[in-house]
Structure formats: structure tokens, C-alpha cells
């Protein structure tokens, strides 16, 4: 079990963008794949309060976040060069 869980949709470019960033920063993560139909995405709704993907749960920092732009920025800020962790 990794400290990070990425809620994602197969072939979703916004999700792949986050995956690329996680890999770039050498961060490990577990993937939870959701069903494409928006109304069936209760798993991410319960955790992140939204039905959009990607969503990232980072137990290392206690952060839960949606929207790929925000997530990438958060990852850079937290784990990137000169980041706080």
C-alpha cells in the first residue's frame, strides 16, 4: 500500500498528466480505476467530494485534491526541487 492513491479513468489525458508528474518526482502511488459513467463514480465522490478525475489522496500530507492542474502544482510545490518535503 502506498501513501498516495490516484483515482483515475483509463486513457484520461488529465489523469496521465498526473501520472507523468508522479513518475517524474519518483513518488509511488496506488491506482483506483473508475467507471466512465459520471453517475457511477461514487468511490471518488466519497473520498474527494467530486465525481471528476483525476483526484489524488496523499496520506503523507493529509491532502485530498481534484483537478489535474491543481494536483500537478501541488506535487511540484510539495515534492519538487526546493519543495517543502
Amino acid at each position: 500500500m502506498s501513501e498516495r492513491t490516484l483515482y483515475r479513468l483509463q486513457a484520461c489525458p488529465f489523469c496521465e498528466r498526473v501520472v507523468r508528474k508522479l513518475d517524474e518526482l519518483g513518488l509511488d502511488y496506488d491506482s483506483r480505476f473508475l467507471l466512465p459513467l459520471h453517475s457511477e463514480r461514487d468511490a471518488v465522490k466519497r473520498v474527494a467530494g467530486v465525481r471528476t478525475v483525476p483526484a489524488l489522496v496523499d496520506e503523507e500530507t493529509g491532502v485530498t485534491m481534484a483537478e489535474s492542474g491543481n494536483i500537478v502544482e501541488y506535487l511540484d510545490r510539495t515534492y519538487g526541487e526546493g519543495g517543502v518535503n
Binding site: 500500500m1 483515482y7 491506482s31 483506483r32 480505476f33 457511477e40 468511490a43 471518488v44
Partner: protein, 169 residues
Amino acid sequence: MDLPFEVVDLPETDHVAVGETAPEFTRPLVTDEDWGDASLSSALGGEPGLLLFHPMDGAFPTTYIFQEIAERGWDEAVQLLGCSISTPYEHATLLGERDVDARLFSDPANHVAEEYGVEHDLDGMHGISEARPAAFLLESDRTVAYAWVAGEWPEFPDYDAIEAAIGEL
């Protein structure tokens, strides 16, 4: 079933047997709404479980098997785990249609069934091998407490025997 002809026999198989430790594996484990990689051990979560190999989702034996285990309420006694060659999408659909608290491993390459000695090369579906119906009741440490593997095609689990074995865990 009482049929006026012989049902097709499946070849003898050297499958995982009672007393052995069920082989560990990792595959996407599917609920009715999402999936992620999980090992057999983590799926059991330190509890006993029933690992049920079944034909691809949509085949009538699979439908019948899940109907029966839903009615028997085994999901309240053990971790109910299935495994077939169907994709996660098909597994999610199957679980969405059944009132059963089960999780299903997706193994399109059929390697897990091969590892357990329960593979079945399908006649008339070139290039597709799936699992024959098989049931392995596992203690919390993956020791096999009960094992049944179909010897005919089709053949259904001995539900009463499995239920008795669950009662003896």
C-alpha cells in the same frame, strides 16, 4: 442434470489441493464501482475467503453460480473473491447486477488459473483460454481448507459441500 448422453469430460488436472498454501498473485480487483491492483493476501485481509474461478462473465454458468451464492448469503461468512478472464468493466457490470458482496479479480491472460491448475482451453474460440469452474476455500493464512474443480463441461460447484466447509472454518 439427467441427460440422455454423456457430458464432456475435462482432462485430469494437477490443481492446488487441500492442505496446500494457495499461490499468491496480484491482479486488478474489481468492486461494483472501481478497481485497483490487489494481492490475494491483501484481498483476504487476514480473514478466511472463498476463491471462486468461473467462466467469463456473461456465460450462463457464471450467472447461475453468482445467483446461487447470492441466495446463500456466503458473503456474510467469508470474503467472497472471484476470478475470470473478463475485463474489469465486465466484472463491474456483473457485480452491479447481483446483490452479492463480492470482489472479482480480472485475469484476461488466464495465468492465475494456470497457476492453480484449473485452466480450460475453449473449443471453438481460438486463442481463448479461461478458468474452469473451481472453488478454493481458504483459511486466513491461505491454507486450502476445501477444493473443488470441475471435471465436466459444464459442471457446477457442490454448494452444500462448500457451505459445510465454510461452517467448519
